[in-house]
């Protein structure tokens, strides 16, 4: 990374606060980087390697498979994050469509395929390879979402960026149409690591894999309307990917502030969450963390921990809403209960499956 800021090396999980039993998580170690950091690094590695024309990443649904002899790179299983995603990071030069690779092993139970195209490079090869991959995979696994990240757009001018986007979209959809495959589930994103667009894009990818997304969105929209929130995000604390948001228009400024505010709270928690027998409580308090800050222009950011992995962050600009902090807290608690209801159901189901 170009900017080795303290924040970037943070590894502390916001939810631990000493309740944590595993002390090694408190120390910084390479393995405890957030998904997003790893993703970014791997995008960088992949795209700076000149031999790599297309660099693909695969996100798989649960179930850890035993490693076999076939060459592949398992990036990480996000065991400590909100959903059990596995991210597989494929070396770009790997010819996985050859018969020596087991397609079922790679693409079976796959949720999404993320394909990264270097927009600053000659992308024709990469696009052709992607088309081949989509057509092959689609025959056997039609349910896979294909997500195309048109990456490194920071180096392109506004106009050229748009042209490149149009060109790539055109080439892929034309090719797929010619092959008789219409309305393919292929989505395109312009990304760059120098702003938050890659987080935004990954958030969208992940959201498609969340079973109760519409329920969550409805709940958040209702909450936001009743509390006068301008924009609300439900974040996965560790990766800073948002798994749901209200249905208002995308607001990058709000996302950036909310995401950085989580950083602030996580970093401060790291400084003051130490255990000592002399540290005594002085009374009752909620078990979940809650924080809010009022900025110079009277904007308020409100953050509330929802469960071990998630927290709700909202931007409040309505002056009347700011006065009613108590009500907002109460509404958020109600939302928290609803949220845990939604998820406990799906988790229960999973456990049932596991015990069967």
């Amino acid at each position: 990374m170009a900017f080795p800021h303290v924040r970037r090396t943070r590894s502390m999980d916001f939810n631990k606060k000493g309740r944590l039993s595993n002390p090694c998580l408190l120390h910084r170690s390479k393995s405890s980087k957030t998904v997003a950091q790893l993703s970014l690094e791997n995008i960088l590695q992949g795209t700076t390697n000149t031999a790599v024309s297309g660099h693909s990443r695969v996100i798989l649904e649960p179930s850890v498979k035993p490693r076999d002899a076939k060459p592949r790179l398992l990036l990480m299983g996000l065991r400590r994050s909100f959903m059990d995603f596995q991210v597989w990071d494929f070396p770009g030069q790997l010819e996985y469509l050859e018969p020596s690779f087991d397609l079922e092993d790679i693409f079976g139970s796959l949720g999404a395929l993320v394909w990264v195209i270097d927009a600053q490079d000659d992308y024709l090869d990469s696009v052709a390879r992607l088309n081949r991959t989509i057509l092959t995979v689609q025959q056997y696994y039609p349910g896979i979402n294909v997500e195309v990240f048109i990456h490194k757009v920071d180096g392109l001018s506004e106009e050229y960026r748009h042209d490149a986007y149009q060109d790539i979209v055109q080439r892929i959809t034309d090719e797929l149409n010619d092959a008789g495959y219409e309305n393919a589930p292929v989505h395109f994103y312009l990304t760059s690591i120098y702003d938050y667009s890659v987080f935004e894009a990954f958030s969208k990818v992940i959201q498609k894999l969340i079973p109760n997304l519409s329920t969550l969105e409805n709940l958040i929209t209702t909450l936001g309307n009743n509390c006068g929130f301008e924009k609300t995000y439900l974040f996965d604390v560790l990766s800073k990917i948002y798994i749901a948001s209200d249905t208002r228009p995308v607001d990058m400024a709000a996302y950036e502030m909310c995401s950085d505010y989580i950083d602030v709270i996580v970093d401060i928690s790291e400084l003051y969450s130490w255990d000592h027998p002399l540290r005594k409580h002085k009374g009752e308090q909620m078990q979940e963390a809650e924080s809010h800050v009022v900025l110079h222009d009277e904007t308020m950011l409100h953050l509330m921990e929802m469960n071990k992995y998630l927290c709700l962050v909202s931007v409040i600009r309505n002056p009347e809403a700011r006065e009613k902090k108590g009500l907002i807290d109460m509404n958020c608690r109600t939302f928290q209960e609803a949220l845990n209801d939604v998820f406990s159901r799906s988790w229960e189901r999973e456990e049932e499956h596991a015990t069967e």
Binding site: A253, V264, D267, S273, L278, Q285, M286
Partner: protein
């Protein structure tokens, strides 16, 4: 009034390219570390007036470091540059290949300083520490600062290892401004009385625009906190967030800031708020909703005490110059009880 508004001359010197202007921009002009590559070389002396704690104006002389400039400082400009200096900040580049020559120049500067301002404070920053591998940092820093000390004549100097890429820069500059605030003992006495009253683990006072630690007190329990560099890290964290807020509310970092921040977690509660016009107060209290709210209310009351003191003739809540009368202590005591 004017007598109180002391202007203190601060010389920032060191070899060309050692990072003087970069760190000045980060600390006082709201640059972020990656922006400083835009800075060109400093030509001759750049004067800037930095307001710190409102009524303490630092008259910062950023002296270009090329040999040609250095020679004029030591010869024709000697009296002009080195008279009335309150503080000399000398920056060493850890990566320099001509250590002996650097030390010779430093020694020449020190001699000139002894001639014109024998009472100045001297701070030496061993800069760009990030370029040294972490495991060797402490050793190399200690060797270098021993060398520097040996060439410092009778001056009692403070040395800091620093880097613009982490919190060590804030530590070094907090150390420097700590020495410059004239009535610090009063502030500290007040803060420790106040911390005891509200049963806080730690109370930190930050300067508003730079977010440098002015001073801090911690209780016996708060002293046990294993994170020894927490103050610098807080400066870094809050300043980074200030930049983010400025970017996203379309304003300049200088005018961005926080009105108030509350954080409640099962392990600690934190309150950050404006205290005087130029400071933020940062309270760490144990968990407990009621106790926390009391602490916040008490802070507000203490703040009123300060603004009253300010209204009755003192330019800022914190009286300048150092108190000779017992009134100040009484005023502070009342605030603490409030």
């Amino acid at each position: 009034m004017d007598a109180r508004k002391k202007k203190r001359k601060v010389l920032l010197m060191g070899k060309s390219g050692s990072g003087k202007s970069s760190m000045r921009s980060i600390i006082f002009s709201n640059y972020v570390a990656k922006d400083v590559r835009r800075l060109g070389a400093t030509i001759d002396v750049e004067h800037s007036h930095v307001k710190f704690m409102g009524n303490l104006t630092l008259n910062l002389w950023d002296c270009g470091g090329q040999d040609a400039f250095m020679e004029t400082y030591l010869a024709s400009q000697r009296g002009n540059i080195f008279s009335d200096v309150a503080v000399l900040i000398y920056v060493f580049d850890i990566e320099s290949r001509e250590v002996d020559r650097d030390l010779d120049t430093y020694n020449a500067i020190i001699q000139a300083l002894r001639e014109f301002s024998p009472n100045a404070y001297v701070f030496c920053l061993v800069h760009k520490m990030d370029l040294i591998q972490a495991e060797h940092r402490q050793r190399i820093y200690e060797e270098r600062s021993a060398l520097i000390r040996s060439r410092s004549e009778h001056f009692r100097i403070d040395t800091f290892g620093s880097s613009i890429w982490d919190q060590s820069l804030y530590k070094a500059w907090a150390g420097i401004v700590h020495k410059l605030i004239p009535n610090l003992t009063v502030i500290e006495r007040f803060l420790s009385a106040f911390a005891k009253k509200i049963d806080a683990e730690e109370v930190i006072l930050f300067e508003r625009s730079t977010f440098l630690t002015v001073t801090s007190v911690s209780s016996e329990v708060g002293d046990l906190n294993p994170v020894y560099d927490r103050h610098e890290r807080l400066s870094n964290i809050m300043k980074a967030f200030k930049h983010c807020a400025a970017r996203n509310t379309l304003t300049t970092p200088a005018s961005a800031g926080f009105v108030v921040m509350h954080t409640k977690t099962p392990q600690f509660n934190i309150f950050l708020g404006r205290f005087t016009d130029n400071t933020y107060i940062f309270l760490v209290v144990p968990p407990g909703e009621a106790a926390y709210n009391c602490a916040v209310l008490n802070t507000m009351l203490a703040r009123e005490g300060f603004s009253k003191a300010a209204a009755s003739g003192r330019s800022d809540g914190f009286p300048l110059p150092p108190p000779e009368t017992p009134e100040d202590a009484v005023a502070n005591g009342v605030a603490a009880h409030g």
